[in-house]
């Protein structure tokens, strides 16, 4: 069993109003050092696959088909063997 962690973010060319709102709030709290904030989604999937490569392939396909919209979003995938499960 593998754990895939997917991060979906707005593409860099797209203004992120949520990130802007958080940045303003952080500045109000005195964190003037925070220069940029971008918001995104964190998605975890447990994937039953024979290898890490296969798990990553499945996770990427899931992103392309459903989890990210390429018109406005990019995604990144990391795969690790799930805790307490034997290596495939």
């Amino acid at each position: 069993m593998y754990t895939a962690v997917v991060t979906v973010t707005l593409r860099p060319s797209i203004l992120d109003p949520q990130g802007k709102a958080m940045q303003h709030a952080l500045h109000d709290l005195g964190h003037g050092a925070v220069q940029q904030v971008r918001a995104g989604k964190h998605i975890e999937m447990q994937i039953d696959a024979a290898s890490a490569e296969e798990a990553e392939r499945i996770a990427r396909q899931a992103c392309e088909q459903l989890l990210a919209n390429p018109v406005m979003e990019d995604f990144a995938v990391t795969v690790e063997q799930a805790e307490g499960t034997p290596a495939a």
Partner: protein
């Protein structure tokens, strides 16, 4: 009599408004189609209604786009059938690839529920043939994710091929940033596909077909009258 098929997803909430407009205001045949169905049945027009299908989980329209009925909607659209997507329906049609672009969170981050003014930019579509270019309509919006976005090349292509059908404007028809309720690229409120048979729009024409229910505006009726004109129906209302 024109036959309207109105989709119903879990979370749709403008399906009954669309049904009321088609059936009771314009005296046409209308039926609901549950999203688990695999066939639309006999239909001249498919309406993908507003609402919050699947609670807007993941992205607005992203899950509904894979409902069983959507295969037949895509088939119907590719065969030239008339498809009107309103609000969440617009989001679903973009997610399904029937229309280009996507609808992001409103630039204000606030849900926008108010009347807006729309300038008709193309009066030669099946949805606007009863209108005139430059005509200003007052129609309600109610959405949190209505910020239309597409890459520059797609936006240029939409403009070049006259596929921007409605733009947010001032009451006198001027296009200004202030009249844009959600940050949409180029004030775009509604677009058609290349063939012109699929329209997506964020404002709700079905909520403004009778002055008594439309804050004094029945301007949305023009979309229904145009559709009926297009399919060869005599317009009653």
């Amino acid at each position: 009599m024109a036959r309207f098929a109105i989709l119903v997803f879990p979370g749709s909430n403008c399906d009954h408004d669309a049904y009321h407009a088609a059936k009771h205001v314009f005296g046409q045949d209308a039926h609901f189609v549950w999203h688990k169905e695999e066939a639309l049945g006999e239909a001249d027009v498919v309406i993908v209604p507003g609402g919050f299908s699947y609670g807007d989980y993941l992205r607005s329209g992203a899950i509904a786009r894979f409902s069983p009925i959507m295969k037949d909607v895509i088939r119907f659209a590719n065969d030239g059938g008339l498809v009107l997507g309103v609000c969440n329906g617009f989001q679903v049609l973009c997610e399904a690839g029937l229309l280009p672009g996507a609808l992001m969170r409103n630039a204000s981050l606030r849900f926008a529920c108010k009347d807006v003014h729309l300038r008709v930019e193309n009066a030669e579509t099946p949805f606007t043939n009863e209108a005139e270019v430059g005509q200003v309509l007052r129609i309600s919006i109610a959405h949190g994710d209505g910020n239309y976005i597409a890459d520059e090349a797609t936006l240029d292509e939409l403009e070049r091929t006259n596929r921007v059908v409605f733009r947010y404007c001032e009451p006198d028809g001027t296009i200004t940033p202030e009249a844009n309720p959600n940050g949409s690229a180029r004030n775009i409120a509604g677009i058609v596909n290349a063939e012109g048979n699929v329209l997506g729009m964020m404002p709700h024409p079905e909520r403004c077909v009778e002055a008594i229910l439309g804050h004094g505006s029945a301007d949305g009726a023009i979309v229904f009258r145009s559709l009926l004109q297009h399919v060869g129906e005599t317009v009653a209302a």
